[in-house]
Structure formats: C-alpha cells, structure tokens
C-alpha cells in the first residue's frame, strides 16, 4: 500500500496575520511559515498506519515555491519515506485547488498510489476543495473530515467523519482519498535522529513543465482582502443610574 500525503507551506498558525497595505493579500515577508496543521495530522496518520504495517511507503508531496522543500523535510523528519516537490517558483500566483488536484491525480498514477491522505483544508486558503476534487478526478471514494480511521481489511477502511450533526461512519473501499480533521490524531514531534535521517531521504523536484497535458490556468481573481472589522470600544459607566440611562437611551428597555 503506497500512500501520498499532501503538505502545504503556510503562514504559521500562531502568527498574527496582517493584511498588506495594497489590500491584495496578507503580509508574507518576515513571517514565520510552517506546515499546514491539518497536513501535519495527515502525515501523522500515514505514519501510524505504516507503523501498524498497513502502509508500506509514504510519499510526501508539496506543490509550491522553493521553500516548500523545508515543509517536505519536516514530513520526512516525521517519518515519510520520500518526497516530491512540484516547484512553482516560475508561476506568479499560487495554484488553485483544481490545479493542485489535477497535479495530484497525475502523481497518483505515476507513483502508483493506493491511498491519498490530505489535510481537510489549508489555513491560508480555507478552501476545503483539493481532497474532494482529487477524488472526483480519480473517480475514487472520498472520506473527508476524518476524525478516526480504522483498517477493516487489506482494502477497506472504517472512517468516522465530523459533520454538522455529529459523526458519520463510513466503510470506504480502497483506493480512496481521505482528508484529515483536527481530532484525528496529535502529530508527533520530529525527533533528532529522524531529522538527520531526513536529509538522506530522496527528494525529487518537478515543475509544472513536467505536466504538459494539464491546464493549470487560474480561474479566480482576488479583488480585495480586508481584515475583519475591529470591535469598537465599549462605554464604561460609573453608577447604576448611568447604566439605566444608557440602556434606556439606546432603546433596550421596554
């Protein structure tokens, strides 16, 4: 069983986001970047399934600029076996989920993948589309927002999904696409020996030129980016009389 895990380099979850002055995006210079937290969970899931013997090989994939290699090194340090970087340095705008999905579909057939595990969404785009699109392009079953995964047999998984009403449990035949939700697992730290070993693990670099048959044009244009409206300051009153008057004047009293 060979698994493809998708990882994306995003602004670190703990960083306070600032909108660029030109309102076309967010500040990215000098900002700490890390692996998308849901991708960490996806990677951890693949590693646990490998430790249990269900998966034989984990291939980590990242579609992004040169620095995406750092993110791939993290997944290798966690325990992925090899990595593929699809370098998009020569492309101006970030590829959209559909383009990513198309690339992943190609990689699935090139690398003979049996199971795709992605994070449910990235914390920068919050699109929550790539996993679903990959499944549709492949014609594979999908189990998204996975909060627990059990192996039933060599080609069946039982997956619990987090949905609005609670949990939905599916039996999923393989090959399939899973997307990881928050409660699926707690990702491990990268251990020192594994960090050192990661340097020796194979990392293949491709570019979009390696996928000539795919149309990867962007179809979405960002018009503006604005921060959420700031909370206005409250008013402090000194006495109950003032409070009563303030409530009355604002029409809150019958």
């Amino acid at each position: 069983m060979r698994t493809l895990v998708g990882v994306k380099r995003v602004v670190d979850y703990a960083v306070k986001i600032r909108v660029r002055p030109d309102r076309l995006g967010i500040e990215l210079g000098n900002v700490k970047m890390s692996m998308n937290p849901f991708d960490e969970i996806a990677t951890e899931q693949a590693i646990r399934m490998k430790e249990k013997g269900f998966i034989k090989e984990i291939v980590a994939v990242s579609v992004g600029p040169k620095q995406a290699v750092e993110t791939l090194r993290t997944s290798l340090a966690m325990g992925a076996d090899r990595a593929i970087h699809v370098d998009t340095s020569n492309i101006e705008t970030e590829l959209e989920p559909l383009s990513i999905a198309k690339i992943m579909k190609e990689l699935v057939s090139i690398e003979k993948i049996d199971l795709v595990i992605l994070g449910k969404q990235s914390i920068d785009g919050d699109n929550n589309q790539t996993g679903q699109m990959v499944a549709a392009l492949l014609g594979w079953p999908q189990a998204t927002f996975a909060s627990s995964v059990e192996t039933i047999s060599a080609n069946q998984l039982r997956v619990s999904r987090e949905i609005d009403d609670g949990l939905e449990t599916l039996v999923v035949p393989l090959p399939a696409v899973l997307t990881a939700d928050l409660r699926l697992n707690e990702p491990r730290y990268a251990t020192l020996p594994n960090i050192m070993k990661a340097k020796q693990k194979p990392l293949k670099t491709l570019t979009t030129a390696d996928f000539p048959s795919l149309s990867l044009n962007s179809r979405i244009r960002t018009i503006t980016v604005d921060p959420p409206s700031t909370r206005t300051a409250g008013v402090r009153v000194q006495t109950t009389e003032e409070l009563f008057e303030a409530l009355r004047s604002k029409g809150f009293l019958a």
């Binding site: 670190d12 979850y13 703990a14 960083v15 000098n30 700490k32 890390s34 692996m35 937290p37 960490e40 993290t74 340090a77 707690e186 730290y189 990268a190 251990t191 020192l192 020996p193 960090i195 050192m196 340097k199």
Partner: protein, 492 residues
C-alpha cells in the same frame, strides 16, 4: 476559605516572627479622607474581600492584614502619598503584579499596599535604538506585545509574564529565562525614576546608553525590593526581535550528559544560544499530571531533560549551526533522545513544560521553594543529598537556568510539615554557604530569607546595607521587615 488556610499556615512562614514596629501608626479616618481626596474614591480599596488579592501572595503562604490598598496613577501622586505617610509614620508595601516567591510583595501586618497597577502607560519608544520608556505598572507580557509590533522584544522573559509588572521586575532584579543571552536588568535598564520614602522624586530617567555622571543610583533601586524607594518609571534597552527562533528538547540519562550538552551548545551554537534550561523527571511528571494540554515531547521518560533555545537573524544560518550541533550530540551519544519544534505551536508547547513547573507544584500541595546559585558542575548534587536526607516523606525536585548556574530547588509534599522544614532549613543554606553559592539567585530575600542573608553576605556588607537603608528611608516605612534582618526577633 482563606481565613482557615491562614491559621493553618501562619505559624510556619517566619522562621523568626517579626514583631510589628511600634513606631508605625495605625490608619485612621483622616488618613482615608486624605487618600480619597488625593487619589479619588475609585482608587481606595477598603473592602476585605477585594483586599485579599493584595494581602495574599501567589503561593498563598504569606497572609497580610492590611486594611487598605491604594492605587496611584502618577509619579506626582506617589510622591504626595509617600510624603504624607512618612510624616504620619504609616508603613507602605509597594506592589506590582504580586508574583514574588519570597513574601516580599505583601504586608506582614497592617502596612498599606501601594499598588502601581494603574501606572501602566508606555510613554515612548525609539525604533532606532530600541529604547522604551514606560511606567512601572506595565505588565511584562503587554510590553512584549507592544515591542513585537515594532519588531523588538523585551530582554527578559519569565513564566509569570502574564501578571508581573516591569517595575516589580526591576525592584527584584528578576532574572528569568533569557538572562544567558540578554544579560541582567542591571545592564539593560538605562534609566529609573523613583520616589523616596519622604516623597522626594529621584529622576534618573535618561535613556542613554552611556552615562558616567556620578554614582549610579538606579542600581540601588534595582533589586532592593521596594525598600529604598518606589520605582515609578523606567527606560530599558530592548533587543531586536529575532528573525529565527528554534527550540530543542533533549532527554538525558544523567546530569553529566546535561553538562556535556551545555558545553557543546556554547561551543557550537555560541552567539545564537538564547536559553539553556534543565529539569529532572520529577519536574516533568508534575507538569504532565497537573497541567492541562501538556504531553511529553519524547516517547520515553528520562532522568533529566534539557531545553535549548536559539535566537538569530537568519533562519538558514541558525539551522545549519543547529544541525551541526545535533549531529555532534548524536555521534558522541551524549543525548539519548531529542526533538525539535517544527512550528510555533510546538515551540510554545515545549516551553510550556518548563514554564509550568511552578504552577504544577502549586497544584500538587505544599512546596518548600529555594532558589540557589551554585557552580554549574555540581548544580544538581543538593537535590540528591536533600532527598536522601528527607527520605520518602516528600519529593525533592530540581530544575532551572543551567546556563546561569541557578537551581530552583523545590520540595513537594501534600501538606506542610514542620518536621520536614527543619530537615531542609538551615541545611540547604549551610550547603550553599559551604559551596560559596547564593541563597537567592534571583527570587530575592523578601520576608522569607531575611535571617538567611548572612549565609551569602558578610556582616560588614549587611551593616553597610543597613546604613544605606537609613539614609534612604530613616523611618523604615518602605516595605518593612523585608530584605534586611530585623533587629528584634522572637522564635515561634
């Protein structure tokens, strides 16, 4: 109910109980009117339940009996108040965040608590020099948030940052987690404005890097725990916020390995090393058992753990240095296991383990808490010696700022026991004296260690301190019974 706790613990805390200075007046209605007129009714606290937070320290070991807490809003008000109290012979306890660990921040009897909490303005910041000027009551974490916006950072960091105030940090010469890299407040503080007991304002608030004009008075206010004057404003030199911060957590089989890692870290990480902390397995277990949302970063437990943090201006360069360092440790088998934070969330989780130890111990019951400076090579010996001495009635834990030679020696027991206390003191102080260490590396003297001061300072030195105190505060109204040994003692 705090009163019950008070009666249970009251007898313990003073190795020799001071007696209330009979020269101090008691507050009367005229005093209250004066304070109300000067500060406004909202800044006078007389209600007993509201006074609890001013009367009781963080560890709930020291219970003051003050009937009044007053909040000042300016240096001028502070001066007016002190002048009045000095004339009236009313004793004052200056208070910041009340996070101190030696009973120095709360009253012993009915001293008035003068809180700086409302003097929380950041006055100015110069982005070229990194010098910030602010009032004493600014909470350390707020100052850090402000500085971060400008790409700077405070030169000190401690677990109490969410509550402690910068004025209190100065008054106690707080050390903290980054002293190794950024030095002590004695180096980073450039100017201080303080008010003396008689209301005189001493303005040494310059923000100059170099100023050799006469005696450096600010150094007297720094670390004197509010006994020589009340610090109202300060200016401090802040370093640039590091572009790259990394943290690694190691598991080691013995203390010797910890020392080897430290030596290697200094050699190979050199200028980017920003913190070097250690803890023993007991420390980790208390945290895992008592603090939510913590887990062992390593797969197994080890006798010792070490936390190494680096701060640098270039992520790539720092990571190269770190990889060389790690490779070296693995090849020489100095480290049994270790992990490296991959993102900010992991970074904070690793730090949380070290920073939560005091809270974890607090949850677990009663803590006998000591803070000693010793030669780094024998830093942990006392933990083992003390554990043997006590037997299995209590647990001895050791952790602290390895890089500074500062051990936080704690003894945890479900309930206070005088018997155990007698086995700890004066043994720990005597051991420290024999090793020419300090009986208080960074916590200060407060009320707790006034009678132990002689273990680390000579009689002549203590006498000179008394003389200085007399000059600064002839009536002794500022934070009485603290720091210097009391002249009159009686044993419990």
């Amino acid at each position: 109910n705090c009163l019950n706790k008070q009666s249970k613990y009251q007898s313990r805390f003073y190795q020799s109980v001071p007696i209330r200075n009979p020269n101090f007046a008691k507050i009367d209605e005229n005093d209250i009117s004066f304070f109300e007129r000067t500060l406004g009714i909202n800044n006078i606290i007389k209600d007993e339940s509201r006074l609890e937070k001013y009367n009781i320290d963080w560890q709930r070991k020291y219970f003051g009996k003050s009937k009044l807490a007053i909040l000042v809003n300016s240096t001028e008000q502070t001066s007016t108040i002190l002048k009045y109290c000095n004339e009236r012979n009313l004793a004052i306890v200056p208070q910041g965040g009340n996070t101190g660990l030696v009973g120095g921040s709360v009253p012993v009897f009915d001293e008035i608590v003068l809180s700086l909490e409302k003097m929380n303005q950041i006055k100015s910041f110069d982005p070229f020099s990194g010098i910030v000027t602010c009032e004493s009551g600014v909470i350390l974490e707020h100052l850090e948030t402000y500085l971060n916006e400008h790409d700077f950072t405070i030169p000190l960091d401690l677990g109490a940052k969410g509550s402690c105030q910068i004025g209190g940090n100065l008054s106690t010469n707080a050390g903290g987690l980054r002293l190794l890299r950024y030095g002590s407040l004695r180096g980073t503080v450039l100017g201080v404005e303080a008010v003396l007991a008689n209301g005189t304002v001493i303005d040494c608030l310059t923000s100059l890097r170099k100023d050799n004009t006469g005696y450096d008075l600010k150094q007297l206010f720094i670390g004197s725990e509010g006994t020589l004057g009340i610090i109202t404003q300060l200016s401090i030199l802040c370093p640039n916020k590091p572009k790259a911060a990394n943290v690694a957590f190691f598991g080691c089989k013995d203390f010797d390995s910890i020392l080897k890692i430290f030596r290697n870290a200094k050699q190979q990480l050199g200028e980017i090393l920003s913190a070097c902390e250690f803890l023993d397995n007991s420390g980790l277990e208390y945290v895992l058992n008592h603090i939510n949302g913590t887990r062992n970063p390593l797969e197994k437990k080890y006798p010792f753990y070490m936390l190494i943090e680096t701060h640098g201006s270039n992520l790539q360069h720092d990571q190269q240095k770190l990889h060389t360092f790690i490779n070296n440790l693995l090849e020489k088998e100095i480290v049994s296991d270790g992990v490296f934070a991959q993102d900010l969330t992991q970074f904070k989780s690793i730090w949380k383990i070290r920073e939560s130890i005091p809270s974890a111990l607090q949850h677990a019951g009663y803590v006998y808490k000591y803070d000693i400076s010793l030669p780094v090579s024998c830093l942990y010996e006392i933990v083992e010696i003390l554990q043997k001495r006590i037997g299995n009635k209590a647990k001895v834990i050791g952790y602290g700022h390895l890089g500074d030679g500062n051990l936080h020696l704690n003894v945890s027991i479900p309930k206070f026991s005088q018997e155990i206390l007698n086995q700890i003191e004066p043994f720990v102080y005597e051991y420290t004296e024999q090793n020419r260490g300090s009986i208080s590396a960074e916590h200060g003297i407060g009320l707790m260690k006034t009678e132990a001061l002689h273990y680390s300072k000579s009689q002549n030195a203590i006498e000179l301190m008394n003389n200085i105190k007399t000059i600064f505060d002839p009536k002794g109204i500022l934070n009485p019974y603290k720091v210097l040994p009391t002249k009159k003692l009686n044993s419990p």
